[in-house]
Symmetry: C2
Amino acid sequence: MPKTFVIAQGGGPTAVINQTLAGAVAEIERRYPDARILGARHGVRGVRDGDYVDFSDVSPERMRLIGNTPGAALGSTRDKPDAAYCELVLKGLQKIDANAFIYIGGNDTSGTQQILTDAAGDSMAFIHAPKTIDNDLMENDHTPGFISAGEFVAGAFQSIDLDFRALPGIYVGIVMGRHAGFLTAAAAAWRDDEDDGPHLIYVPERPFSTERFIDDVKRTLDRHKRCVVAVSEGVSTADGKSLVESLVGPDKVERDAHGNVKLSGSDLNRAFEAALAEGLPGRRARVDALGYVPRGYIGAINPVDASEAYEAGQYAVQVADEGGGSVALKYEGGKTVMRKVPLSAVAGKTRHMPDEFLTEDGIRLAQPGIDYLNRLIPRRFAVGKPFV
Amino acid sequence: MPKTFVIAQGGGPTAVINQTLAGAVAEIERRYPDARILGARHGVRGVRDGDYVDFSDVSPERMRLIGNTPGAALGSTRDKPDAAYCELVLKGLQKIDANAFIYIGGNDTSGTQQILTDAAGDSMAFIHAPKTIDNDLMENDHTPGFISAGEFVAGAFQSIDLDFRALPGIYVGIVMGRHAGFLTAAAAAWRDDEDDGPHLIYVPERPFSTERFIDDVKRTLDRHKRCVVAVSEGVSTADGKSLVESLVGPDKVERDAHGNVKLSGSDLNRAFEAALAEGLPGRRARVDALGYVPRGYIGAINPVDASEAYEAGQYAVQVADEGGGSVALKYEGGKTVMRKVPLSAVAGKTRHMPDEFLTEDGIRLAQPGIDYLNRLIPRRFAVGKPFV
């Protein structure tokens, strides 16, 4: 009997998650020309509800175009199956005689696969293919989606710094990143020297203090006549609460189905505006949240990222043949290679930036961090030093 | 005696304003190999204070690199000279025996040149070279800086729409544009069909009503299961006040030296968040201000824009030879050409989007608007239609 594969996408879309889908579909077709390949719409929800795309109806040309398109072509979901939901998902998979379920996503997605594996035993292969702009998956050197998003953020901050050389002031750019600061750190990937912004970076790995922040900005203004700051939306105060939660109050914050605090409102913008107005009155200051654009900007799709994402999809089929697990991107012998790791090594865990990536005061990149980012996100644009 | 040229940059930086600087310097060197070419730092402020870069010290290689670099390499300013300031600027120019002053900028910059012309008579040539992402200069088909910024905005909204297909909800993206909606309209430049976002656009040329906005969003959600909105920061209520001013109160808004209301805070974000929470409770909604990134993003420099900006700088030298005036980009016989127009035709005026660019209800592009944007900002990326 021909095999049946189910593929789905979970969590936030990225610039290259559809490459992983395209890679998986192409590899299944290559290995198993008779296989039935179904794409579940909106992640596990589509499996639960039996809402599928049959890839035999999709031309190779369309799949190629979809691979090059940001977003999540199958639709995504933030649903995190509990026991009851999980049972419905399993039933859905059994109903169509699925042999393997490939779920492309981040932490939460790998957690879902772990739950399903625990419930289903060896009756089916559950595979997690990595995807996250946060770059926060354990076992991975880096994750598909991070390089493109990082390149966008590096270019945005390089551009903003040039803007603020021309019209000096304080700029605070809020970057996605709940628990890991990699993407915020990428803002500094294309600095040439000390005078280049961003001059300060604040990441979730180090406690944030508003008082110290104002001091840092003051010192930077004295030295560089402007101050460009990159800050993670997930920065936390010393008590471990997210800055948003500390400011808004634990009862008032919104949470998603995974229990994560909603960081996407303008509360954080407002907090920084207020802190700067109080701490540095009269100084020109601008607070922007870069928002959703970095994670899927069609103009900054990095070709290495795209090709690694595709390869991760192909390798997911190999992992399916081996009974399931998580695809991890390792850096070995000077290149990125795909490896299989146990789901339990990735599921529900967060990889933080290594301590040595940051200077001791935690507000700048140290050499290992610079080296890491230079390797992944080499400079793309040559710039001429301004006259000011 | 050799001629002395002074060049300066005013107003907000763009992705290509340095091309205009490079074009002007190259053309002066070509026409007048003995000329002294001085760049004033931070616009008229540098002229007033005698703070100059001597371009004879700058290598052609560096000028080429600077041309390719966003920002404003000489530094910019928001100063608008009053009579006293103006006299100091004139004295500054006379002190160095300037024959011509080329000032690259937008409305306010051309206004400054008009004031200086009125004060100095024929003793010196005052030239305005156009630059603005707002695309709001009279006499111009379009302005250097607009195409690159428009391309960024078009790509950002194309990407955001793909994101919101995957995880449905409401997205409101706030785009720069105080009095003219061209840049916000560019958000819709790369739509393929009715189902593509942005589904709604709100520009300063049409009165904004929160109540109608909520109705528009509701209708869009019913039809497309998501709603992507592009809105100008300068949208105004029917009484002519900017939405920010209407919300915050006329006494509390901040103003710049030109008397312009500061639109860059998070007040507008918050107003939209509140309106959506009240009008569409429980619906996933995200409000982002695109902020400063679009105007100078190094990854979206359009080559046509760059080359037109360079040509505008070259042509400014021709206008200097003719005694001064404003450089305008006209569209004649199927191509963009440089023409000289009187400063008075541009100074202190605003070009709005033509009425016929928008549908009657004012929330979508009409065919003439689509045609205009397609001509200037042709689609750059092919995308595959998602399965959802």
